[in-house]
Amino acid sequence: MIHISVYYFGAISLILIGLYAVLVKKNLLKMLIGLSIMETGVNLLLISVGYISGRSAPILSEGVGPNQAVDPIPQALVLTAIVIGVATTAMALSVAIILYEKYGTLNVEEIRRLRG
């Protein structure tokens, strides 16, 4: 067995749960919830990668020196990723709204006019 930190574990679990929703749930909104959870998981993963035990937040005021702060880069990345995530979610939800107007359902098995 491999030993990983609880944060990694939590993050990977979120990713898997999200993917599970996409793979199993037939309701489109449920799938989108899954994607959203997946994104949260990925963000948590990124932040955990940047964490250094025993150091404080990378705000260099009041006696926090350059060698006492955690890695700022993943945090910057995650800021970006969160915003991108919410943007995707908003887009996806408007598409879902149109789909509901046109098909009268959100079941992805019935939204299958394009195929073959």
Partner: protein, 614 residues
């Protein structure tokens, strides 16, 4: 000098594009004819030069060095193509009504010339594809199904060749013939190319060239494609374009002969790989000739006949001796001229009558005497009656087969000749003689350009028939050794002698005597064309055989068992299966459900994971 080759190859293409662009009656034909005539002029000009040294032309295109070279051997092929080409152009002046046909006919002309002159595989492949594509477009206009059959088989062949080229390139790092040949020679001692790879290469190239030559069992495209194009063009299609496949086989010998010999050795005293080619040729001859006999449509008949005749050439090359090559090469010429002539005659008939079936014809000799005379020459030449070119070449092939101790193959030649006689006789009688259907009473002689075209092809038939030495001498020079002895009128091989002049004189004398007898002594009776025969069957309404209808039906019944199996239907079946498979694949993979699609992603991840974990 260098530009000569470029003009030679590309003049028809440029002329075709111009003819297509200025699609005005008169101008179009003039440009097209000039385009087709230029290669003849240049080839005539270079005749003296090529025998002593070659003319080269190199151009770099897209990082590839394309090498064109006019040597004694490919001058021969190019000259054959050029003769048929100019006849085709004359025929098309009469039969073609669109710039489209001029464009693609001349484009394929360029392709054929380029294939003959290329000395590297990229140029070869490029022009090969161009030739295929252009001839395909000629057929597409008239018939989608047949053209697609032709194109699919050709493309399979071309891609097989591409694969072969790529393998050669991977192994030798070269694309030009000279280097590849040398590298394969060197490989005899190095052995970088394994036996399996050699076999693969052989099969790939054989497929590629076999498709074009119409070799059994890849011949199925030929009847449809030959009969569905403009008939004037078919004279070129069958007379010159199919020779590209033959040329390819020759190339196979030149490039890989030694390697293939080293890998596969001999079989009963013959080169093993050549033996395969010989048998393919023999089977092609027999099968195609039988099928030709059974046809009810002039175009189909000549299409199958053409396949069979090219089979002779393959057979000759397959014999593998120098005499075989000489015979094959001679037959390349004679087939081109007699089959080209046949198709022009067919074009004239169809143009003037609008009919293609035997049952609708008859008695045309009176109406189209010149065409009839040309048809007669072609018939004599094809069925191998001296003193026509067809006899000389067939005789050489036969000699070669006997000399190489291939009696079965020689038997195929004989059988083929007999069958050829059977079908041309029918053509001769059903079309030209007998009672004329009343709707053909107003038929006129074919237009002048077409007649000139026929004459151009008829002359070599007689000339090289009476003086076969003209050709064999050139072939001797091209190979640089005395393969066939004799003089202009006499062919001497180790096992026999054929004195064409003597035969001609005897024949002329005989004909004269027969003519005298006919004029002064014979009693003739007229047979109504409606005369039927039943070959032993009871007389019923729908079993009504005459020379014009179902003449060889008894033969078909005898061959019933074999006719049940058709490669054509087999390929159609495969195509159908492929299409159904495509549908199933598409419907089940792209099934429209996004969840399935997500599963595909998950499965890919799973594969990645398993590959990572294991």
């Amino acid at each position: 000098m260098i530009n000569d080759l470029m003009i030679l190859i590309f003049a028809p293409l440029v002329a075709g594009i111009l003819a297509w662009a200025f699609d005005v009656r008169g101008i179009r034909e003039a440009i097209g004819f000039i385009g087709a005539a230029i290669p003849v002029v240049i080839l005539a000009k270079t005749y003296q030069t090529v025998l002593s040294n070659s003319i080269n032309y190199t151009i770099t295109v897209g990082g590839f060095k394309l090498i064109f070279q006019l040597t004694a051997l490919n001058w021969y092929f190019a000259a054959v193509a050029a003769i048929v080409g100019i006849a085709m152009a004359l025929g098309m002046i009469s039969t073609s009504r669109s710039g489209y046909e001029w464009l693609f006919a001349l484009m394929s002309y360029t392709g054929v010339l380029g294939v003959f002159l290329s000395q590297d595989f990229i140029g070869f492949f490029l022009l090969w594809e161009l030739m295929t594509f252009a001839s395909f477009m000629m057929v597409l206009r008239n018939n989608r199904h047949e053209s697609l059959k032709y194109f699919v088989l050709s493309v399979i062949g071309a891609y097989a060749m591409m694969l072969g080229i790529a393998i050669l390139y991977a192994k030798t790092g070269a694309l030009d013939f000279a280097t590849i040949r040398q590298a394969l020679y060197m490989d005899l001692s190095i052995g970088a190319i394994s036996k399996g790879e050699s076999a693969l290469l052989f099969v790939l190239f054989l497929t590629a060239f076999g498709v074009k030559a119409g070799a059994f069992p890849l011949h199925v495209w030929a009847p449809g494609a030959y009969s569905e194009a403009n008939q004037s063009y078919t004279s070129f299609f069958s007379g010159a374009l199919s020779k590209a496949g033959v040329y390819g086989i020759l190339l196979l010998y030149i490039l890989m002969g030694a390697k293939l010999y080293a890998e596969f050795g001999t079989f009963h005293g013959h080169l093993t790989f050549a033996y395969v080619i010989a048998w393919i040729g023999a089977i092609t001859v027999v099968v195609a000739s039988f099928l030709a006999v059974l046809q009810e449509d002039i175009r189909k008949l000549f299409a199958y006949s053409s396949v069979g005749q090219v089979g002779y050439i393959l057979l000759a090359f397959g014999v593998g001796t120098s005499l075989g090559f000489a015979g094959g090469l001679f037959h390349v010429l004679s087939h081109a001229v007699f089959k080209g002539l046949f198709w022009l005659v067919t074009a004239a008939i169809i143009l003037q009558t609008g009919k293609t079936k035997f049952k609708d014809m008859g008695g045309l000799a009176e109406k189209m005497p010149f065409t009839f005379a040309m048809g007669l020459i072609a018939v004599l030449s094809l069925s191998g009656i001296p003193p026509m070119a067809g006899f000389a070449s067939k005789w050489l092939i036969y000699e070669a087969a006997i000399q190489a101790h291939m009696p079965l193959v020689a038997g195929a030649i004989f059988l083929g000749s007999g069958l050829a006689f059977a079908y041309v006789v029918r053509f001769l009688y059903a079309v030209w003689f007998g009672q004329r259907p009343s709707d053909l009473d107003n038929v006129k002689e074919a237009p002048l350009p077409l007649l000139i075209g026929m004459a151009i092809l008829a002359i070599p038939n007689i000339l090289f028939g009476v003086a076969p030495g003209l050709v064999t001498e050139y072939i001797n020079k091209a190979f640089g050794s005395e393969i066939v002895g004799g003089d202009y009128f006499k062919l001497v091989t180790p096992t026999g002698t054929y004195n064409a002049l003597l035969v001609t004189i005897v024949l002329v004398l005989g004909l004269a005597i027969a003519g005298l007898v006919f004029l002064y002594g014979a009693t003739t009776r007229k047979i109504p064309v409606t005369n039927t025969y039943q070959s032993g069957n009871p007389v019923i309404e729908d079993y009504n055989l005459s020379i014009r209808r179902n003449f060889y039906k008894p033969l078909a019944e005898a061959l019933d068992f074999w006719l049940k199996y058709s490669w054509d239907r087999f390929y159609e079946r495969i195509a159908g299966i492929a299409e159904d498979f495509a549908d199933t694949l598409r419907q089940s993979f792209y099934n429209g459900n996004v969840q399935s699609y997500s599963w595909y992603l998950a499965i890919v991840l799973l594969i990645l994971a398993l590959w990572g974990v294991l």
